[in-house]
């Protein structure tokens, strides 16, 4: 089953490699992994999307907690949560396609952030599912490149991961 795990860790060189090394050494899946500093500069927050049986997820949770630099871990998928991912898509946009692309971008509540005479670059935010849907809704042959950040997650309401 798919799980989305959030963790806070010391914002130190090498901390990321401890986490990624743990996943590769123990054969756990990583679907996506995002990391950036938080409002507290000493901490980084990471969101990992992974999948596995209940036993494997339990081990992942425990093994992450065991890393010395990991301060707190939360399996967001155990409760109500939100997740968002950012995608940038560069498409070929000439002739009639320009209007069609603009319309699709509006429908998916994205925005066009760069325009050239032959291309648009579209920014889109949402769940991974929504981003997939957008890619399926447009003519795939027009896609020049896509960049996705992977999911960032946060608990709903009072579910807070903080030191």
């Amino acid at each position: 089953m798919r799980h989305i795990i959030s963790l806070l860790m010391e914002n130190e060189a090498g901390a990321l490699s401890r986490v990624s090394g743990l996943f590769s050494a123990r054969g756990y899946n990583i679907e996506s992994l995002t990391v950036a500093p938080t409002e507290d500069a000493t901490l980084s927050r990471m969101t990992i999307v992974t999948s596995g049986s209940d036993e494997v997820i339990e081990q992942i949770y425990k093994q992450l907690n065991k890393l010395i630099e990991v301060v707190a871990v939360m399996d967001l998928s155990e409760g109500e949560h939100l997740e968002r991912e950012l995608m940038l898509v560069k498409v070929r946009a000439v002739g009639a396609v320009r209007e069609e692309m603009k319309r699709m971008t509006d429908i998916f509540r994205g925005c066009i952030i760069d325009v050239s005479d032959k291309t648009y670059t579209i920014e889109l935010t949402g769940t991974g599912h929504k981003l997939e849907s957008f890619l399926q809704a447009i003519d795939r042959s027009l896609i020049l490149e896509t960049v996705r950040t992977g999911a960032s997650g946060i608990g709903r309401g009072d579910r807070i991961l903080k030191l």
């Binding site: 090498g14 081990q59 907690n65 030191l163």
Partner: protein, 568 residues
């Protein structure tokens, strides 16, 4: 007063009470060696290979309750040390390794003797640090010792670049340490303790299964009291031997791949299993599916939550320091109105007695040729069961575990998790330094001993009167055994040809060598060797080439599918 990073490093070791540092000098640690030279509180033991430095620090740590300390240089110094570090990591041995690194300005430039030490050792340490500021050395070493010893112990490495070790700063050693992300469990939840006591008292077919965690937590006194109070059978893992006295009538022997019949059958068919500081690893429970076929309630005490329900699902987890949890369990039992009912478990003991009747460790002795088991039995008698025994890895290791009855903890020193050949001799050096007046024997084979044999030179230099008990069967015996069982007797590369004359070799290193070829000479030779209190004696026992280790639970099989010697 300002001190250099190197001087601070040594002052930190002094503050931590380190008696010995095992190491080997090199370019990146020259400042640190210079600082060692000008003091005599911390004694340096010069090994002949960095792997041995780590094993020696490891043996020192295992035979005491202290943290082992090693010092190696950058690049090959570290890569040579990795086998030792991984060995200590797998067996959760508290250790601090100081490694030199190329200067900070050269890191990443493929400098001479540069290697990404933190990267290479990351998967086999509890934690590691690269010190980039001389002001951080003291605090980092303080943290390293704290991490190594607390919680589930393990090796911690501190990598110090050469320029950092010669910069100066004010020194003050921190009196305390706190790491906001690290809070090892201590006491367990009282509710869990109460539930555990209820389960234990209701058991009809109980079993206590204790591992290396009991040794590491110095909890054998509590374990022994608990086992006796309950009247239950107790088995030890390879790592746990000595945690419960082997000569006690409630001890059913070691369990696992080469465990006794009664221990393995007891594990398989018990209705309540109390696991203490053990981790249900593949060499212990064999095939998990087969193990799970029998219904039983499992209580698991361990300091590391990730050890619980990793391979075998547990009904009642108790996370905490084994000694503290056992204290809590004992207090609860003493206070409980219900008392252990020996009548209720009498049929179970009758069953165990029947299993014991199989006499699964029996072997056919010979007047002609030395049986390896016989050597260990005689070793036990001659040392009156009171020696420190280190071992290498293979058949001799299993025979030592099976036939030397360890009544005390920290007497049996072996690489259980990683299974590192070459461990025994350097580990024995660490043990002997920690216990200068004790009998220390290294049980080894002619394969294993050659993996760190250069340490005979270290033994000479530091006058370590070890007794090396080499069971020489001219085969990599355990490999040969598996090839016999599973590979149609095709002994691919498992013979040991062109062996040196070990007697002359020992003599060349300045020690005493003995070759023993007749069973009748075994005991007199051992007596003579242990009588030579000031000398290292290298004993080359020429043993039966075809002897196998029994009982044996083959890989992938269940604990009750054991092969006994009589089955073949």
């Amino acid at each position: 007063m300002e001190l250099t990073g190197a001087e601070i490093t040594i002052r930190c070791l002094q503050e931590e009470g380190a008696e010995y540092v095992f190491g080997y000098p090199g370019g990146a640690v020259l400042h640190i060696y210079d600082a060692l030279f000008t003091q005599d509180q911390v004694k340096h033991i010069l090994v002949r290979h960095e792997q041995a430095a780590i094993h020696a620090a490891d043996g020192y740590a295992r035979s005491t309750d202290k943290v082992g300390v090693a010092l190696v240089t950058s690049g090959p110094g570290v890569t040579n040390a990795v086998t030792g570090i991984a060995t200590a990591y797998m067996d959760s041995i508290p250790m601090v390794i100081i490694s030199g690194q190329v200067p900070t300005y050269a890191i990443g430039e493929d400098a001479f003797q540069e290697v990404d030490t933190v990267g290479i050792t990351r998967p086999c340490v509890k934690h590691n640090f690269l010190v980039k500021d001389v002001k951080e050395i003291a605090n980092t070493i303080k943290k390293a010792f704290y991490l190594a010893k607390s919680g589930r112990p393990g090796p911690v490495l501190v990598d110090i670049p050469k320029d950092i070790s010669c910069q100066k700063t004010e020194f003050s050693y921190p009196t305390s340490v706190s790491i906001r992300s690290y809070h090892p469990a201590q006491h367990s939840d009282l509710g869990q303790i109460k539930s555990a006591v209820q389960l234990l008292l209701a058991a009809k077919r109980p079993m206590i299964y204790a591992g290396g965690g009991v040794i590491l937590a110095d909890a054998s006194k509590q374990l022994t009291e608990l086992v006796r109070l309950l009247g239950f059978p107790c088995t030890n893992t390879l790592m746990g031997l000595g945690g419960y006295p082997a000569t006690d009538k409630q001890f059913v022997g070691m369990l696992g791949m080469h465990g006794t019949y009664e221990a393995n059958m007891g594990m398989q068919y018990c209705d309540v299993l109390l696991a203490v500081g053990a981790r249900f690893d593949d060499r212990v429970v064999g095939n998990v599916k087969h193990f799970n076929q029998e219904k039983r309630k499992i209580i698991h005490i361990d300091i590391d939550p990730s050890s619980i329900s990793k391979r075998v699902k547990v009904d009642l987890p108790i996370v905490g320091d084994v000694a503290h949890v056992l204290d809590d369990l004992l207090a609860e039992l003493h206070g409980s109105k219900e008392k252990p009912d020996q009548q209720a478990i009498a049929p179970w003991w009758a069953q165990i007695k029947e299993w014991r009747g199989k006499n699964s460790l029996v072997y056919k002795n010979s007047d002609e040729i030395i049986k390896p088991q016989f050597v260990i039995e005689k070793l036990y008698e001659v040392t009156q069961g009171d020696a420190f025994i280190t071992s290498d890895v293979g058949q001799h290791q299993m025979w030592a575990a099976q036939y030397y009855k360890f009544d005390k903890p920290r007497r049996w020193i072996n690489s259980g998790g990683l299974g590192t050949m070459g461990f025994g001799l350097p580990a024995a050096m660490g043990v002997q330094l920690a216990h200068p007046d004790a009998h220390v024997a290294c049980v080894t084979g002619e394969g294993s001993i050659q993996m760190c044999i250069q340490e005979l030179s270290t033994c000479k230099q530091f006058q370590l009167p070890l007794k090396i008990i080499m069971l020489n069967n001219r085969y990599l015996g355990m490999v040969r055994q598996w090839q016999q069982f599973f590979h149609g007797n095709r002994y691919a590369e498992s013979y040991m040809d062109a062996l040196p004359d070990f007697v002359k070799l020992a003599e060349a290193y300045g020690h005493v060598g003995m070759r023993i070829e007749k069973p009748s000479d075994v005991e007199p030779a051992l007596k003579e060797a242990f009588g030579r209190k000031q000398q290292l004696v290298f004993m080359d026992f020429i043993t039966d080439q075809t002897e196998n280790v029994f009982p044996m639970v083959q890989g992938g099989k269940g604990l009750s599918e054991v092969i006994l010697a009589e089955d073949l």
